[in-house]
Symmetry: C2
Subunit: 389 residues, 2 copies
């Protein structure tokens, strides 16, 4: 699954996640120009050569980079990640979500990922649900019900793991027995906020926990804001549920607009300050949505089931072994008994769900409420996926 990236390049990228801050376009430019290994060499070699090659930053900035590069220990970070069941993904990996390339020089150097699911396949059918930390009960209700509806239709709910709207969205998806991914502004082994340690652990089991920063990294204000670009870029569209006027909660929406993703908002009472930011968005470029169906109608329109342009399209006999076993275990008439499917496929319920969501992304299965069933064969026969065997 992580074949395709040479080990030295992967190791260098892992090191660079400790050197270059998320979204640093200057660092992204160096990476594009020199490649990860050569960039790391430059940062850990002769100061004069580094200064000659790595332009666009003053001596203090370059010195700070070099100090971080000297201290970076990718073997230790990769081991710490492995210890919590996390892997490190690079561009070029089969599991890398190629749509992150839309971020250009601000694209992540790599992603640290916890969870059994395939990030690329999950992100293919994902929607971000984000909003205010200090949301009202109305905002929490709308986030949970939207996320539950999206998850119930086989869509993956992406959010930021924060208090308020984010937490309600993750919980709504989990409660619907659905798929959810949390993109953190810290290391994936670091529970932030602390009060969400249990929620984040649950997401790592049933879903995915994703971050750009290496293990044990702590969030900062700018990391929160720049994390939002990953949420926006991963998903097909972003729904904002409650945000104060001109608040930071709107930054994911602004990233989504900039990236050409669908940007949606849930209206609320004009008398509520926590809806003022959403109304501001809806008065300019956002689309008003009131339920999951409306969201799906909008995001589904962007090429139903279409895998990302540059990614591979799997014929059935190229499915991973667990995916193939889960697809095999699914009764022709469908079932809502995930435990039985998991047993027949020889895996856990969480893993079976992860595989079903992936199979859904590839068009092999359908989900209707709690029932999963094999997809009806397309006209003209053959596999359900384009280019199928």
């Amino acid at each position: 699954m992580t074949a395709g990236t040479p080990p030295a390049e992967r190791r260098a990228r892992a090191a660079l996640t400790r050197v270059i801050e998320p979204g640093d376009e200057r660092g992204g430019g160096w990476l594009a120009r020199f490649g990860a290994s050569r960039l790391l060499e430059l940062l850990t070699g002769e100061a004069s050569e580094a200064a000659a090659c790595l332009t666009g930053v003053g001596p203090p900035g370059l010195d700070a980079c070099r100090a971080r590069a000297a201290a970076a220990d990718p073997e230790r970070d990769l081991a710490a990640a492995a210890a919590v069941g996390a892997r490190f993904l690079c561009p070029g990996d089969a599991e890398w979500p190629s749509q992150l390339g839309d971020l250009g020089a601000a694209a992540p150097i790599g992603l640290w990922v916890r969870g059994a699911a395939d990030l690329r396949l999950w992100a293919l059918r994902s929607v971000a649900v984000v909003g205010a930390r200090a949301c009202t009960p109305y905002g929490a209700h709308m986030a949970a019900s939207l996320a539950g509806g999206l998850a119930g239709s086989g869509w993956v709910v992406i959010s930021g793991g924060a208090f308020g709207v984010d937490a309600a969205a993750h919980r709504g998806a989990l409660a619907a027995g659905g798929a959810t991914a949390a993109v953190l502004a810290c290391g994936v082994d670091t529970a932030y906020p602390r009060g969400h340690a249990e929620l984040i652990a649950r997401i790592a089991e049933q879903g995915l926990v994703v971050g750009e920063l290496p293990p044990a990294s702590h969030p900062t204000r700018s990391r929160f804001v720049l994390r939002n670009r990953v949420i926006a870029a991963l998903s097909r569209g972003t729904v904002v549920v409650e945000a104060a006027y001109r608040s930071g909660s709107l930054s994911t929406a602004r990233w989504a607009l900039r990236l050409g993703r669908l940007t949606m908002g849930v209206p609320g009472p004009v008398t509520s300050g926590l809806s003022a930011g959403v109304h501001e968005l809806l008065r300019t470029e956002g689309v008003l949505v009131t339920d999951a169906e409306e969201v799906i109608e909008l995001v589904g329109g962007i090429g139903e089931l279409a895998p990302v342009k540059s990614g591979p399209v799997l014929p059935r006999d190229l499915l991973g072994p667990e995916c193939a076993r889960v697809l095999e275990a699914l009764p022709a008439g469908g079932t809502d008994r995930l435990a039985e499917v998991a047993r027949d496929a020889g895996t856990t319920v969480d893993a079976a769900l992860a595989r079903l969501v992936e199979l859904h992304s590839l068009g092999f299965v359908e989900r209707h409420s709690d029932t999963w069933r094999p997809a009806a064969p397309r006209r003209g026969g053959g596999g359900p996926a384009r280019g199928g065997a």
Copy 2:
């Protein structure tokens, strides 16, 4: 004020308001073809000639028209109107709002009007605020506060005199010491709903009560719906505050869209069924608004202070005598003491307010909150109105 329409034509049009239902395009076609006097002659003359000329309707329909025409007594209706202080306006009158022509064959045959203000001048700067009868406290609050804000900025609030949102809008404008007009689906001497007898009487004093139907006419379901086209056509834009999904409250908005008027909606909680219709509108063609300023920004954009294309533009020395006296009585630095202005102009407070709103439409005065003051002279000098002396 009512010069311009020959007395026989006016009398015939008054009669026809009792014969042809509001919005009847077939009747409007006859009117355009024959003129009012000749049409009335045809309807009250030989049956065979009527049948030969008035095509597009079966014998029972034509017979019903002829029966109503035979029973019509315009002198009695005009006298009944005069008894409650109402006048009858026809296309061609100086006070006729020429934008009603946008309704084509469905334009009103004439309008019965109670109140001291000039309908044409008021409608130049008017916004319709409409919505559900069974509104929530939130809807009533939003309607009253929008209407108060519009009235406080010198805009005329038009609505339908119904329970719920309409009443809150009228009351909000009245409470702000502003201008409001009720367009009824019955005779202007008929208080419908009965519970609004007092409100409608107050609007007739401080504002305008308008209707297409002759005195003592009662509303019907289709008259309510067709009344909405007059509200939409008179105003520069329509704001919907609460409407259930696919409810009749949206019909004014649909008319506004059809007529190319601005169509706006106030969002509310998704969990409220009474906001579902507004959200439906906002998901298609309506513009989300949250306060009076946003409404004014939108409707004011359509040519600030621009009088309707075909109407006359008054230079200062062509103002009516009461208008001229009120303008004269207004202190150069402005005042919020309408009673003093009224006293100095030798008129009542209600009449002074009506004149001030007209002067505002023509660009002679400005209103800021409760203070009225003469408008600052435009660059290049001369009167404030385009084409001014």
